[in-house]
């Protein structure tokens, strides 16, 4: 059972998780394109992070990361002054693996991708299983999301 981590520094929570939780390697991968001039990027969840997400009571709400990203985007940003949001915002409860992937997209993918992933002529982002990726990296520099993707499926 997760201890009551209210007000505990996030890094200390991760120390507890590292000592007490088994890593969980997800088969999910997130393929996204954030530039029309570049090939697709692949987001791979970290096994220790996924264990924290499934356990609950450790990670802060994803909105905390958005607030810090907003601060960092300011032209006069020098140093975080609201880091306490990571540590003092009550941690969220357990997530399913699918919910954890959605959280991770909103944390680690550019907002320009996930906020409008299905609004263009073709999808900018796809969640898939690792088996659905090309088997080798021989043509990695040309990987793109297929135009034939059936979004209704």
């Amino acid at each position: 059972m997760t201890p009551d981590f209210t007000g505990t520094h996030l890094w200390d929570r991760l120390c507890w998780a590292k000592e007490n939780l088994e890593p969980h390697q997800s088969d999910y991968r997130v393929v996204y394109e954030d530039s029309i001039d570049e090939c697709a990027k692949i987001l791979v969840p970290d096994p220790n992070w996924m264990a924290c997400a499934l356990q609950g009571g450790i990670l802060p709400p994803v909105e905390v990361y958005w607030e810090l990203a907003k601060d960092e985007a300011q032209p006069d940003f020098k140093k975080h002054t609201r880091g306490y949001l990571l540590h003092e915002t009550p941690p969220i409860g357990p997530m399913t693996e699918e919910q954890a992937i959605e959280y991770l997209i909103m944390k680690d993918c550019p907002q320009s991708v996930w906020q409008t992933w299905d609004e263009g002529n073709r999808p900018k982002m796809v969640i898939c299983k690792k088996e659905q990726l090309p088997a080798t990296r021989e043509w990695r520099n040309s990987w793109r999301i297929s135009d034939d993707l059936d979004l209704a499926a």
């Binding site: 009551d4 507890w16 987001l43 791979v44 096994p47 220790n48 960092e72 975080h80 944390k107 990726l133």
Partner: protein
């Protein structure tokens, strides 16, 4: 906190002198990850304070869970070819891209992109 807590400002050795715990807190690595760019895509084989890896072809981005306080932290890297007998001819460059993202790239002494074991350690101050 529900587990044991030791509060001390100073550590004192019987003969070697004293050390304030600031040295321990500030000097500890804040994140680390080990991954192989030969994997498709690379996954974290061992890690701490990492939420995900982003495979950006030859560059791999390391996303942190607990962010650093500013972008002037110090990511440190090393690499090996992945063979047991010869780990040579692999270099890894890193760059602090944001307070929560480290960009990495492995290359050879001839400046050609290579694959192999990547070891990234992050030092600095947490947010």
């Amino acid at each position: 906190m529900a587990f044991g807590t030791l509060k001390a400002d100073t550590l004192t050795h019987s003969t070697a002198g004293s050390l304030t715990t600031d040295y321990v807190v500030n000097g500890s690595a804040k994140a680390w990850v080990n991954f192989d760019t030969g994997d498709n895509p690379p996954v974290a084989d061992g890690s701490f304070n990492v939420s995900s890896l982003t495979d950006n072809t030859t560059e791999i981005e390391v996303n942190l869970t607990s962010a650093m306080s500013d972008i002037y932290y110090a990511p440190v890297s090393s690499g090996g070819s992945g063979t047991v007998t010869n780990p040579s001819n692999r270099l890894v460059a890193t760059n602090a891209q944001t307070t929560a993202k480290v960009d990495t790239e492995m290359y050879s002494a001839a400046n050609a992109n290579e694959t192999g074991h990547n070891h990234i350690v992050v030092h600095g101050d947490l947010a």
